[in-house]
Amino acid sequence: MTTTTTDNQKAQAVKAPVQVTFTLNGQQISVPKGTSVMEAATKNKVDIPHFCWHPGLSVAGVCRFCLVKVEGARKLEIACNLEARDGMIVSSVDAEVKEAHKWALEFHLVNHPLDCPICDQAGECGLQDFYMSVGKYDSWMNRPKALKPKALDIGGDLVLDTERCILCSRCVRFEEEVTKTDALGIFDRGDRAIIGTYPGKKIDHNYTTNLVDICPVGAFTSKEFRFKKRVWFLQDRPSICPGCSTGCAVDVYGKPQERHYYRIKPRESEVNGHWMCDFGRHQYVPLNAELRLPKASLQVNQQQKYVLLEDALTELKTMLGQVQPSEVALLVSAQYTNEEYAKFFDYFVTQHKIKHVFQWREPTETIEAFDGLLMRGDHNANTQGLLSAMKQVGISAKPTNEFDKALDSKFKLVIALAPELPDTFPSLAGQLAKLSEAPAYTCVFSLMVSLARIPGFDCLIPMRGWAEKLGSFTNFEGKIRQLEASFPPAVLDALGVDEAVELLAGSRHFQPREHTVH
């Protein structure tokens, strides 16, 4: 019994974390006292099959899949609720354990509809994965299966299929522990049990798609992603969510051959734990080819005309040579990478002596807002990075919207780094209209094809989107967030700001561009 674990002892354990050493599948593992065998196994890359355990949630111990054998114990124990103790000898591969895992899987499949051919989870489903790793048997279930409600709209981005559900209760715990919205419960008992919302409640918050992620089967699917693409056709790249200044680590899923992105999922990191918000998840949409500025554009006879990148950059360079530095305004949004800002300011401020640098921000933003979980009111990924890049070239500033200053009639040339995510800039359309009407020659670096439909701009340079860049953002608390891998741009001519600057500076030369398909 556990009468020995008094509050006193727990307090002491906090003061001086004691290491315990135990054996797992013959391997000696040292972990801090209080660590479960499951946590220890996960840290040491030992896979113990499980459904209900999730590192970001409390232990439920209900799927009974993570059974392990402890030498000297009367029966198999579940690794998720088993504290690692000194000298303990544990096996997750013993013949008895393997047989138990097989049966545990079969119990999960007894009433599962096995509708993989029409299920979005297929390809990333726990039932499928574990069938391959610990199953591979012919089912003994030859009776009619339990029938339950399907395709339920229970709010948010979610569609629920209670037949596919294996009742692991991860979603219920997420609602209780993470969003604290408590909308979900398990109703009825035995094999009639179903997940559902409490009477009068819907799932209504900004974190709903996390339920799709943590659902180990296809019970929760995403309205947005549903039936769009088989997951095995997708490639994923580790990046950073650009939706706000938190800088959640994410994986972006796209299909480069189609120049299309399909979804964003959170990637575990110290900043965001295991989660991300629905707002952030949506930020792949502006990257898709159909919304992208496909080529550079110049104004010819008060009309936008797509031109070669070389021609647009040459015209910009010519303009730059024709005006005084004091007649140039740089209008910069906070949605570019640190590396892009460094090159941009070095070229225009340090080398070209342009001193008028203005921040382009959403006038209605409430920068200090925070939802208590992840999303911040500063919907720019790199406010801190922009401010520190400006400081590097001697401009001290606080986050302020200085958009109107760039419209001053004293400027003959405005070079703007436009925001790339329209969701984050409710006032963007109005600002763009104003900017296009400015008397100055306006050159806008942008992602969006919508700019090409505004006649007043003089020069448009197509930009890479955030998932198509390497580099870093600096988040709200000054943490450097690396965009670790990138997709080839969805439009061939797209440039990073750094590339554009190098081309202007002549340190990079135009080459026949090949669209690399990975």
Partner: protein
Amino acid sequence: MTSTASSQKIILAHEGMANSRALSTYKANGGYTALAKALKMQPTQIIDEVKASGLRGRGGAGFPTGLKWSFVPRDITGPKYLLCNNDESEPGTFKDRHICTVSPHMIIEGIIIGAFTVNANKGYIYTRYEFQEEIGYLEVAIKEAYEAGLLGKNILGSGFDFDLDSYVGAGAYICGEETGMISSLEGKKGQPKLKPPFPAVSGYLGRPTVVNNTETLANIPWIINNGAAAFKKFGTEKSPGTKLFSISGPIKRPGVYEVPLGTKFMDFLNHQCGGMLEGKTFKACIPGGASAAVLTAEEMQNVTLDFECLAENGSMLGSGAIMVIDDSQSMTDILKVTMDFFSHESCGQCTPCREGTGWLANILEGIKERHATPKDVDRIYDIAKNMSGKTICALSDAAAGPAMSFIKKYGDEIKHNLGAEHS
């Protein structure tokens, strides 16, 4: 029961007395003298006495009561609770309701002594919804006890405070499992909790909690009054005391009986219970409630009614619910209603139990519909075997145990009748 047998009675000592439930009757027959005595003892003395008596839990698991009480930490402050498990729901069991009917004050006295021992100031009697009459008896008794200063503040001038309430469940079998009961009492869905932590450390509302069965607690006053040695004169070495048995089936006198543990089953059946009904032949017996393995009539010949003998025979004493089966009954039907019960009552939390109990019931449905092969019968055994020992609580084992025993002992009969009509 005859008056000569009353010398053997601890729990049902007042059975047959006029107004046996009344506080005045209870007191006139020595009631609450044990409480007065206990309140003057040290809690550790009481634990030692109960340990020495060898009293084992009467709810089914047979865990030593004194040991259970000793697990409650003594050195921590804050509320502790004692809960009386009166959720009697094991099919075949109807003994606790009988205690409520005969001597509700005996239960209450046991509860107060237990609470004093573990220093709990609040307790609940958790009774299943269906026992409406018995709930009434308990509530009247609680009211009487409050009025007599036996509950509430400063009980009998001892300085010990204890409040007791009656709580009515919703009729779920799983709420008889102690942590399921705690969940239910907390206002949550009646589902067992993951252990560790155990209730003695973190139970009701996360506080140290003792859960004892009604019959267990009813034994306490007698033990305090008469001592462990006197208690051990009843029963066997490992199963001391008397036990209530609720016996049903095609026998002459079904009902609740208090007999010393270790009594020979056939003597009990043939003497107290009057034997089988005319024309009925004893075929098999489920000796400890629906979750106990079935024993054949042959196996029952030398069985004594105690924890150890029934365990040796591959079954269990359980809650003392003896169900006698005669040779006109279909083993398929009995197994099916049993599995239907467990499938209906599984809380659905742990996968092997949720899916396994349903699967077993489903296969038996197929057998009843005559859509089954002998392989399906064998499958019942394999499924049950792999449900055992894998879940948070014992409900999965409670279903698996009888299923395996039925297939082992009556599998051939079930297979033989696969094509036959079932009523």
